[in-house]
């Protein structure tokens, strides 16, 4: 028994050097060559960092495309989902009020055109994407508020839609931050 204890202690120490020092340092070194140099890929506007490409941020102004509802208000230091069950009455009321908000700001919108992702909270609370349909239903509003051609906005949406992986696997999505930055670029 005593032998096993001593062997366990020594083995634990040796493995700790290998697994907790050497291994992550190699990964950190390799990660230094990645896009964000290992700190996450940042996006800048006029030389100032305005966000991370992967991390969704809150858009509430009518002249911007809105992202998905977030259970944590897009707090990137405290990710979480709503964990609401599908039959929870309070939750269903919340969804219903999200629908009303969408209809209020997009008067010509029909309920049947609203995709589920625009009225449900994401798993991380930081979802950077919306579905293509989620962007399409906002085009009219954006065009009206920005006083620009609907077609121009629609083209931007198409340009910023990322299709399935290799065109074959998974859903397509739109990165809200990149799309909105592209919108701001239009003005100039």
């Amino acid at each position: 028994m005593k032998k096993y204890i001593i062997q366990s202690l020594r083995l634990t120490l040796v493995l700790m050097v290998l697994l907790c020092v050497i291994y992550p340092l190699i990964v950190a070194f390799a990660g230094g060559f990645s896009k964000g140099n290992g700190g996450g890929e940042k996006i800048s506007k006029n030389g100032k960092v305005v966000g991370y490409a992967a991390i969704g941020q809150s858009f509430t102004k009518p002249e911007y495309f809105w992202g998905r509802p977030s259970a944590v208000g897009y707090n990137a230091a405290g990710s979480a989902g709503s964990n609401k069950g599908p039959s929870n009455p309070d939750y269903l009321k919340e969804v219903s009020s999200r629908i009303d908000t969408l209809l209020k700001y997009n008067p010509s919108l029909k309920k049947a055109d609203i995709p589920a992702d625009m009225v449900t909270a994401s798993g991380s609370g930081l979802d950077p994407n919306i579905s293509e349909q989620g962007a399409i239903i906002q085009i009219k509003r954006i065009a009206a508020y920005r006083k620009i051609n609907e077609k121009t906005v629609a083209e931007l949406v198409v340009k910023n839609t990322q299709g399935p992986l290799l065109g074959l696997f998974g859903p397509s999505s739109v990165n809200v931050l990149k799309l909105n930055l592209a919108l701001d670029e239009l003005k100039k």
């Binding site: 366990s8 992550p24 405290g78 599908p86 994401s122």
Partner: protein, 572 residues
Amino acid sequence: MNTELLGIVATYLLTLVIAIPLGKYLAKVFAGEKVWTDFLKPIESAIYKLSGINPKEEMNWKQHMKALLTINLVWLVYGFFVLMYQDKLPLNPDGNPGMTPDLSFNTIISFVVNCNLQHYSGESGVTYLTQHFVLMFLQFVSAATGLAAAVVFFKAFRDKTSTKLGNFWEFFVKSITRLLLPLSLVMAIILAFNGSPTSYEAKDQFISVQGDTVNVSRGPAAAFIAIKHLGTNGGGWFGANSTHPLENPNYITNTVELVAQVIIPIAMVIAFGIFIRRRRLAWMIFGVMTIGMLLLLIPTVSSELGGNPAIAKMGISQATGAMEGKEVRFGPAITGYWSTVTTIISTGSVNGMHDSTMPLTGAWQLLGMMINSFYGGCGVGVLNYFIYLIIAVFISGLMVGRTPEFLGHKVEAREVKIAALITLLSPFLILAGTAIASYVFTNHGEAGWAVQPKNWLNNPGFHGFSEMLYEMTSSNANNGSGFEGLGDNNVFWNVASGFVLFLGRFLPIIGPVAIAGLLGSKKYIPESAGTLKTDTLTFSLMTFAVIIVLNALSYFPALALGPLAEYFTMLK
């Protein structure tokens, strides 16, 4: 077929393409035959030398279990204190606090037993030091513990009669140097180049486009996420686990993480067949497991793609499926696949919140964890399956009136008793645990714990019951996923699930290894016309029936009270 379903098919095929050769490789590694990774031998020799281990020393099954329990105990004590005092230790750039004793108790058991149930949130509850030197360390060694136990079990059936079952430390170290570490390294680098952070920098701050100040938690996560999946651990770097855009940035990383968690469980089944020179038996086991997986997967994906009927009633398009708790970049189909995979094997990482999935999906997730052997966790999947096998051998023996035997060894009262006890343990822990929790919730709602029992549940009615049932099931299965709406960071859940975790890990490891050790030491009886063959289609069906009947009898009432009742209420 749409691109989302195609994604599932491609992911599973990619898994097989990697897992099958990996199984062949593992059989050779553990048999000590020549493999291409033998260039790592000097590293292993150095590890043995520094640790005072002689890898040639043969152990019997009891010595194996002693070694296993001793080193696990060392990790428990070490981690418990480090987590409590993490605020006073270095590598804490975000200034996170130490854990309370009950939270530390729960967390350390949870990571030692390869479960990774998390009652803390990664961003605020741990430091870079504890993430790496406690949690990630345990993700490696707990997976290696399971693998080493499985190899001991393999050893018992390799030779006709044997009590010498190799050296525990050797199996354990090789699991790391020849399998977990190299694969983790490759995977972590793939993750890093797809956007998972690797640097030790603290939280970042920026002003968003609309002018909000946003803090971003980061840290060296990529290394952690790799072993989290390869070792079927499942504990996330961030609170939101693999739904978090830095933990799982895109469809490529999603595929990599999905493939990584399944390859070792499948490879171990293949390795078993090659190691004991009975490939047909292994393929039969693989077949039963795969059919079981498909039976859980297909209804899961179908119910998630179908969307939420309550939201459909409001007139909202459900063309994109149920999206609450899910991420747009993955979509509901592959998220459904993930939820099946993560519950049948004991990973417990999530790329969509299980609490918000449809009621029937919840039932399949629970059932996957209750059965816990359709592929199953790293190493332990095969061990769990073996218990069902022994029960099937015993019942078949009774049915045809022959002495039950397995691989040429008589299965007698002692072995069947152990198997029966292990079979009864899971329902006992899950159901008794849930019953106590329900009792406390209804009768002692005002108890002055960190979260008062009346505030435990995030959802009312049947779904609330499911939250408690899920927590106990996940603990017993060493899974680690949760219906995360449950307010679980308080003394009741920390302690209760801590005990369930502990018993649900070590007894189901010791049981099968003991049975194998006992069987292996018995006289070998050559096969004859009177032998009950275990590698036939009939016997596989029998095993499948045993799995279904045992679990249906144990859990149907509980499932009926939770997810099934919720499902039928929603039909109204």
